[in-house]
């Protein structure tokens, strides 16, 4: 297979974008990615979107978004893996180029979530769980992660304060990201005093409802070298994708994310590196407990020690392994289909040295982890500077 590079990055401010439609926010991000690379024609495109149908009543996004990007007569594919749809778009584009079938492919993600009210968005998100055997009984996404949290607290002694510290860290990071939806700091007391959503998770343990898009342009190494103009070339060095049971209750260990561990192992093998050789990680902190479980599954700390790792400041921006310097889903926002693409974009910015105030100094290698549902699907990418 051929080497694949990330040559264009496009993302604008996320938030409640009431004046903009799904097609507009996608097109802005995609144009920015093409301009960043200096490209105006692409061979193919992938769009990650969890539920155009339930959020805005629009499916058939391949046709619509290719049309609005001014790209006709090309293959355009919408891919779906719940909240991991964005990561899946990047993976799909990667393999299309690696196989030699295409040279320049756009991977984008988009979700327009605020056109519906809170109950309807809670319903839409719950479709990423097992509709007949979980959602039927009234459990929500925060509810499922809350049950993971209670199990983790019981098994390993993880505390509500450790959960809250994840939010505190990611909001501190997000306060340095001008594109974040909630770029402000919070403290532990504020998190613990915020409204309970599903015990033990408070609203500030949860990622927000967000409108947003992100786009990255991928290309073969030959094309990337021609377009580099002296900028560092960022290569996708490892890709891993795996699945687990869709129903949380069917897992042997409710506290462990096997699909994430499996995907990470594949990506580490492919990139010939281990968790100790990463300069930054962008991971799927849809809830504070998720970040604790993911750092364990990625091997950044021992199994069960995620809460303690937060106490020890392992993952702060100046810690041993900075996690979610972008602010993560928690502060940056979580337009579900766009999240996995924005993670790639963030790591690529750091590897190019273009991350501004929050730049991880000298970053050479970074990992992204994007997860669907309660971990029923997980996609890991490892990026390196050539």
């Amino acid at each position: 297979m051929r080497d694949v590079a990330v040559i264009g990055l496009g993302m604008r401010k996320w938030g409640e974008l009431w004046e903009q439609s799904l097609r507009t926010i996608f097109t802005e991000a995609a144009i920015d990615a093409l301009d960043d690379a200096g490209v105006d024609r692409i061979d193919s495109m992938y769009i990650g979107c969890m539920s155009g149908g339930l959020f805005v009543g629009q499916e058939h996004l391949g046709s619509m978004l290719a049309d609005y990007l001014g790209q006709r007569s090309l293959p355009a594919t919408r891919v779906e893996s719940a909240c991991a749809s964005g990561g899946l778009a990047v993976k799909s584009a990667y393999y299309e180029i690696a196989s030699g079938a295409s040279d320049v492919v756009l991977a984008a993600g988009v979700e327009k979530m605020t056109d519906v009210d809170g109950n309807a968005s809670t319903y839409a998100l719950a479709t990423a769980s097992d509709q007949e055997y979980e959602a039927y009984h009234g459990v929500t996404f925060p509810g499922l992660y809350a049950m993971i949290a209670h199990a983790h607290m019981k098994k390993y002694g993880t505390t509500k304060e450790q959960l809250a510290q994840v939010a505190v860290k990611n909001h501190a990071n997000g306060s340095r990201n001008p594109l974040a939806q909630y770029p402000y700091k919070v403290d532990v007391k504020t998190v613990l005093e915020s409204t309970l959503i599903a015990d033990p998770l408070h609203i500030l343990d949860c990622s927000p409802i967000t409108d947003g898009a992100a786009a990255v342009l991928l290309a073969s190494m030959d094309v990337a070298k021609k377009l580099a103009k002296g900028r560092p070339i960022v290569r996708i060095a490892g890709v891993g994708h795996s699945t687990d049971t869709i129903a949380l209750h069917a897992r042997k260990d409710l506290t462990f994310l096997e699909a994430t561990q499996h995907a990470a192992r594949k990506a580490y093998d492919m990139a010939k590196c281990g968790p100790g050789e990463l300069d930054l990680v962008e991971l799927h902190d849809c809830f504070t407990i998720a970040e604790i479980c993911v750092i364990e599954a990625l091997g950044l700390c021992e199994r069960g020690q995620g809460g303690k790792a937060i106490d020890q400041k392992l993952t702060t921006a100046d810690g041993k392994i900075p996690v979610n310097v972008s602010g993560g889903l928690k502060s940056k926002g979580h337009p579900v289909g766009a999240t996995g693409v924005a993670q790639i974009l963030e790591v690529a910015k750091h590897l190019r040295g273009e991350a501004g105030e929050r730049q991880v100094k000298g970053a050479r290698r970074g990992l992204t982890q994007n997860m669907g549902g309660t971990g029923g699907s997980s996609i890991v990418h490892i990026l390196e500077v050539c």
Partner: protein, 130 residues
């Protein structure tokens, strides 16, 4: 919820009907065509016992549309004594009494407000054993 879907789901929702893999003993609830442990395709029908233990739980305070009239309500993952785990509500319970490891019995209750087809959606909820 459509009438057809509701009717189709009655056997496991009302009667805890499951199946045991002939080869490895894995219990599929609901029924499956292929065993996820050993890929065997032959199962023996069984009925699960309605008693079990709370493996984890939460209290839902922000609900999807069909459940907004019920908040707050408790939801748990219950491991039945046969070894199968399922997700269900815990009824008639003061949330402060919930804990991992507590014993429960499953009872037949109304689950959701009337669906679009006018069908009442029933199923099993856990209640704490005295």
């Amino acid at each position: 919820m459509s009438t057809a879907r509701y009717w189709r789901e009655i056997p496991h929702r009302y009667r805890l009907e499951a199946s045991r893999c002939k080869q490895c003993g894995y219990i599929a609830y609901p029924h499956r065509l292929i065993c996820p442990e050993c890929q065997c395709r032959e199962f023996v029908p069984i009925t699960l016992k309605n008693t079990g233990t709370i493996e984890t739980y939460t209290v839902i305070r922000v609900a999807p549309s069909q459940f907004v009239d019920q908040v707050p309500y408790a939801v748990a993952i219950v491991k039945l004594d046969d070894g199968v785990a399922l997700t269900c509500q815990v009824a008639d319970t003061d949330p402060s009494k919930l804990a991992i490891g507590k014993r429960v019995t499953l009872e037949f209750r109304r689950i959701q407000a009337d669906g679009e087809a006018g069908v009442l959606a029933y199923g099993l909820k856990a209640v704490l054993q005295p």
